[in-house]
């Protein structure tokens, strides 16, 4: 602002000095010298005309084209990027789904394996049980046989013992058959 006032005051001062210079017959203030007005205007119009012509016909159009191309290109790229982004999201979703699927499948496999192993274990336990029962039965049978055998041999032993005892006590020998018949 200050500058503007300054420049305005300079303007007035210079205008005044120009007027003073003209009145006193000295050299005029150059920016106000009307002798050079025509050449200034003429050459200004010429040079500005050249500039305007070349710019409007050539260069600016080219710059505009470049910018438009770039804008189109960027728009395309942005579209492509957003398309790829949605694809990426899709892929990501797909991947997550696959992951959960795989996890579920793995869970299933684990469960199935566990069940089959359980069944196997149960089966072998049952088999072992059955085998053990069989063995126990066989052993029991043998015991029973042995016991009955032993029981059957008790008579003989008793007869032997009795014969020996009679011999010792009575001094008589008695046949085992006799004793047996007596005992029974």
């Amino acid at each position: 602002m200050i500058r503007t006032y300054l420049s305005l005051s300079v303007t007035t001062v210079s205008a005044a000095s120009a007027v003073a210079a003209e009145s006193s017959g000295e050299t005029t203030f150059p920016p106000f010298d009307p002798g050079y007005f025509s050449t200034q205007i003429f050459w200004l119009l010429i040079s500005f005309g050249i500039l305007y012509f070349v710019l409007s016909r050539g260069i600016l159009r080219r710059v505009g084209q470049i910018l438009e191309e770039r804008s189109d290109h960027i728009t395309d790229d942005l579209d492509k990027a957003s398309r790829m982004q949605s694809q990426a999201r899709e892929a990501q979703k797909h991947r997550e789904r696959a992951l959960t699927d795989a996890r579920a499948e793995a869970q299933g496999v684990v469960e199935a394996t566990r069940q089959s192993v359980d069944a196997e274990i149960k089966r072998s336990i049952a088999a072992a049980d059955a085998q053990a029962g069989e063995q126990a039965e066989i052993a029991e049978m043998r015991i029973r046989k042995m016991r009955s055998e032993a029981l059957s041999r008790i008579d003989e032993i008793a007869a032997d013992v009795a014969q020996a005892a009679i011999e010792k006590v009575a001094g008589k020998s008695v046949t085992v058959a006799r004793i047996k018949s007596v005992l029974n």
């Binding site: 420049s7 150059p30 003429f42 500005f48 710059v63």
Partner: protein, 259 residues
């Protein structure tokens, strides 16, 4: 400006003098090729060279130079769009040329011993009149008599509408003057100031000898040093203001009904 130390004179005005380089008279008109004409042609040549070289490769991914061109292209484009609307873009080449011409003329003037074309009121006034002719010509071509609605504000009671219309006419007539005077006065004042301070610095050394003179020269030298970037800023801002106001005025030609 009464600076007479040892016969040396600081003359801040001589830098604005025009020296003919080739005489040429057509009728009573002097159309000589002068240093001013040379600087105009240099400005135009530089602009064209710059634009031509930096957009020559047309690469999709811009290099540094090309992106400067594109930035200025969009800078002007946005300026027009925000002030005159999208249909103002038909004046894009004109506004772009105007902005670049003034900017380059101002910047060239910042180089020492170069002539500043925009420090002459004829030049800036011609530029302003080009804008006003375009505004009036296009306004009438597009709107016919409706262009006069520009001076007839709507929504104001009939009693004072005449008064406001007169004010509008005065405003309209002052446009080319304010447009040209603003640019011209800024360039002129800036160059006079620069020359004065630089001259003072030199004069101090001349008057008091090298040793004490250097200290006397410090302040004007510092002022010169501080003024140079400011002048570059002003050179840009003035080109910007000129182009911006051109857009505002062109907007009137496009839509004279509403302000």
């Amino acid at each position: 400006m009464a600076a007479d130390g040892e016969g040396k004179r600081i003359d801040p005005i001589s830098q604005f003098e025009i020296t003919p380089m080739a005489e040429w008279k057509v009728g009573s008109y002097d159309l000589s090729f002068t240093n001013s004409s040379l600087m105009m042609l240099i400005a135009v040549g530089l602009i064209l060279l710059w634009l031509f070289l930096s957009t020559g490769r047309r690469s999709l991914v811009p290099g540094r130079w090309q992106s400067i061109v594109e930035l200025s292209y969009e800078f002007i484009g946005n300026m027009i769009r925000s002030t005159a609307g999208s249909d103002g873009l038909r004046f894009f080449p004109f506004v772009f040329s105007l902005f670049m011409f003034i900017l380059f003329a101002n910047m060239l003037g910042m180089i020492p011993f170069f002539f500043t074309t925009t420090s002459h009121i004829v030049v800036t006034f011609t530029l302003a009149m080009m804008v006003m002719c375009l505004v009036i010509g296009y306004g009438v071509y597009r709107n016919g008599w409706g262009f006069l609605r520009l001076f007839w504000p709507s929504g104001i009671p009939l009693a004072i509408v005449w008064f406001v219309a007169i004010l509008e006419v005065i405003s309209f007539m002052s446009r080319p003057i304010s447009l040209s005077v603003r640019l011209w006065a800024n360039m002129l004042a800036g160059h006079i100031l620069l020359k004065l301070f630089a001259g003072f610095a030199v004069m101090m050394v001349g008057a008091f000898g090298l040793f004490p003179g250097v200290f006397g020269a410090l302040i004007p030298f510092a002022m010169t040093f501080a003024l140079v970037p400011l002048e570059f800023l002003v050179a840009f801002v003035q080109a910007y203001v000129f182009a911006l106001l051109t857009c505002v005025y062109l907007s009137d030609a496009l839509h004279p009904g509403h302000h």
